[in-house]
Subunit: 206 residues, 2 copies
């Protein structure tokens, strides 16, 4: 039976790093951005449009299809969102069927619960979080060249924005509270944790 580790994470908490390292440690496939590529392949929508939806920024939705021009129409927008949500579910279920893997974000914890309950897979749901202070520090240290002018205050604002988008998307999709410990098997607080040192030990839990 395939073992699937899903990781929900606060922005800047190192959830992605934990996911990559766990996958390496365990020899599991790692999926993150591949989900978007999968959705694009399952639908007619462009990558940038899928990202708009997936990243939860639903207020900015403008329907864009490849090679077609359409009126902006609310009903159509809803249809598009449903298409993408359906494709996301299919893509994640396919990934889980293929092999042991780590899936970061994308409501994978919720999507795979049914297959876990039916004994098709063995699911471990993690959530990674940290104090705002340590997340700002982490993000400042890892700034891209474009972000070099950002102050700590700007970074905190950015973190809160991304978290809000993730929370909205998760709640819209699952009707659950994002990050509520009840929805996960283990919640890791990385504020005082060196992820690199801890991952070999965390990996043994699965």
């Amino acid at each position: 039976m395939n073992r699937i580790i899903t990781i929900g994470r606060e922005f800047g908490s190192g959830g992605r790093e934990m996911g990559v390292r766990l996958a390496n440690e365990l020899g599991f496939q790692y999926y993150d951005k591949e989900i978007i590529t999968g959705i694009v392949n399952h639908t007619d929508y462009t990558e940038s449009y899928v990202k708009e939806i997936i990243e939860g920024n639903t207020r900015r939705i403008i329907p864009v299809t490849i090679g077609r021009s359409l009126d902006v129409d609310v009903e159509y927008q809803i249809q598009q969102m449903q298409d993408i949500v359906k494709a996301q579910t299919e893509v994640i279920k396919e990934m889980a069927e293929k092999s042991d893997c780590v899936i970061v974000g994308r409501c994978a914890d919720y999507i795979l619960e049914e297959d876990d309950a039916n004994g098709k897979i063995q699911l471990f749901k993690l959530f990674v979080h940290a104090s705002m202070e340590s997340r700002v520090k982490r993000c400042m240290e890892r700034r891209s060249e474009d972000e070099m002018n950002m102050t700590e205050k700007d970074m905190e604002k950015q973190i809160r924005k991304v978290d809000k988008e993730r929370a909205n998307y998760y709640t819209n999709y699952t009707l659950r509270k994002w990050g509520a410990k009840e929805n996960y098997d283990i919640c890791f607080n990385t504020t005082n944790m060196e992820i690199k040192t801890m991952v070999p030990y965390i990996a043994r839990l699965f």
Copy 2:
């Protein structure tokens, strides 16, 4: 440097079992009821009175001292509570200074944070929780002879009552929300976890 594992836990989630097993696995001292004995030794109060305070049931407080009779007086009650809280802090800090240990409940996570920040000890703060369904199941299986007449509904009521007392006590003492994941290093959901099987792996994290 002594390693201290504190365990906060929802009633019926198996937090105590995890604590006992972790202490055995790691060869750490285990403290739970010993804290009450310690407080009794540090103060003039009886064990039953200390329990009343410690278990958060502050509305039922009746001042009782050994060998003395006193008028019920609110100011005096507050003084007694402060004595007990002070003694609890001393007892827990002494335990942490003595050796590696696991301490269950009693706001130990909060009490020991300062010593952790000062580099006197290495603190790991755990919280153990589970779904109401699995907690009722666990408690029904472990009923004492006195509890044999309890229905699942009675048990759920009892679980909610104890949790409320723990939450009140924790919040009164720490001004924090009991069970909020931000206050712990790791939160374990034992709903789908066999504690006995997992503890050897969990122990490696420390």
